[in-house]
């Protein structure tokens, strides 16, 4: 049963990850309505999905007792951020903070940092609020905002729960290479974050 469940989890995660590359994002968007459009949106935004997975793995390094709070805090923050986007204008440096979060969570995961619970939940809350805000921003008038945000929140909950659960199960397995593999993935995320952050600073003046 356990191995079956693992296979299942692996397959689901793989399917979820494969979706954005399938490149028919807009088809699902128009075909299944705004809920699924909202659910698909963060998956096509690498600047959202990468730090989500890094955050889940980072949480898993802190053990189940701390990690489970992220599962609760993150989707709620995501929803709150989305609703805030309907009411207030964008905060300054919103996109820079977003990319900074990619680098920061990636680095923390690569270092397998011990993070106190308030910091972990705070990181989840800031990321959720910011990404929720980005999801809720600038939706076309024909979009049902509530459905779209509900979809985005749902996918946030599903991805965060599955990734945290899978990372915890992965770390419980035997083998010293397991934490190394997770940390290496954090280092990948951090590398992407650092370079895209660099692009923000250098690109406009590079020419």
């Amino acid at each position: 049963m356990r191995t079956k469940a693992r296979l299942l989890a692996g397959a689901t995660v793989a399917a979820v990850l494969a979706l954005p590359t399938a490149a028919h994002a807009h088809l699902v968007d128009t075909r299944l309505g705004d809920f699924y459009g909202g659910a698909l949106h963060p998956l096509t935004e690498l600047q959202q999905i990468l730090p989500w997975i890094a955050l889940a793995a980072l949480a898993a390094f802190q053990g189940a007792r701390r990690a489970r709070w992220v599962i609760a805090a993150f989707p709620l923050a995501l929803l709150a951020g989305g609703l805030a986007a309907l009411a207030v204008p964008a905060p300054p440096y919103e996109s820079l903070v977003g990319i900074g979060l990619v680098a920061a969570t990636g680095l923390a995961l690569a270092a397998a940092a011990r993070v106190p619970l308030p910091v972990l939940v705070g990181l989840a809350a800031v990321m959720g609020l910011l990404h929720g805000f980005q999801n809720g921003q600038g939706l076309p008038a024909s979009t049902d905002r509530l459905l779209f945000l509900a979809g985005a929140t749902a996918i946030g909950y599903v991805v965060m729960t599955l990734a945290t659960g899978a990372a915890l199960a992965f770390l419980r397995g035997v083998g010293g290479w397991r934490p190394i593999a997770l940390r290496a993935s954090g280092s990948w995320v951090a590398a992407v974050g650092i370079m895209v952050l660099g692009l923000q600073f250098f690109a406009p003046t590079a020419s």
Partner: protein
């Protein structure tokens, strides 16, 4: 590096910074193209490819601390190289050094050289900076810079993994010999590209 029209850079940065829903229809294909070109970039360049496999192979040959330090630190150092490339800092001899990295690592594997960890780390770190620099300069022109970065970081990591998995063979005497033969082959490919890049071969 292909010249990028000066107007398109701020525009591209601006577009990349707007994760709006109207762009959703396009991000799908942009992400796919970016990922694809990022994934293919290290794989289609044989000099990059053999050097990255060599890094994993050497790590596996060196054993315990190196094989653990390598997959975590290499991408980060490579990102620093990418930053230097983005900043437009001129770095001399990029192509020869990339080719040299294949040659040097191949030789080190073939001769089974075991330097202290810090020396190995510095050597691989220097190569990582040059590899990152070569990729980083392509970044601003990518269809979706984030996707491109993900693509080449993942491709590089997978090439390391390939090297490490081949390196598992060192547990057997015959496998250890095979690994050294692989190293020699990599050194030959590196030598070819080194000669080509300095203009001896065309």
């Amino acid at each position: 590096m292909p010249p990028v029209p000066s107007k398109s850079l701020p525009l591209a940065a601006l577009l990349a910074a707007i994760p709006l829903a109207p762009a959703l229809a396009h991000t799908g294909s942009g992400v796919a193209i970016g990922l694809q070109s990022g994934l293919l970039h290290p794989i289609t360049g044989a000099d990059h490819l053999v050097a990255m496999v060599a890094v994993g192979l050497w790590g596996a040959q060196l054993g315990a601390p190196a094989i653990w330090v390598l997959p975590i630190t290499f991408p980060l150092v490579m990102a620093v190289g990418g930053l230097i490339g983005l900043a437009g800092v001129p770095l001399p001899f990029v192509e020869p050094v990339v080719a040299l990295s294949g040659l040097a690592l191949g030789l080190l594997i073939a001769l089974h050289v075991r330097p202290p960890l810090w020396a190995a780390a510095v050597l691989v770190g220097v190569f990582a900076i040059f590899h990152g620099y070569a990729h980083g300069r392509e970044l601003p022109g990518a269809a979706d810079p984030t996707a491109y970065a993900v693509g080449f970081v993942v491709a590089t990591g997978l090439l390391h993994l390939t090297g490490i998995l081949i390196g598992v063979l060192v547990a057997w005497p015959a496998g250890a010999r095979l690994v050294r033969v692989c190293g020699a082959a990599i050194g030959c490919v590196g030598l070819y590209f080194l000669l080509a890049s300095v203009g001896v071969l065309s």
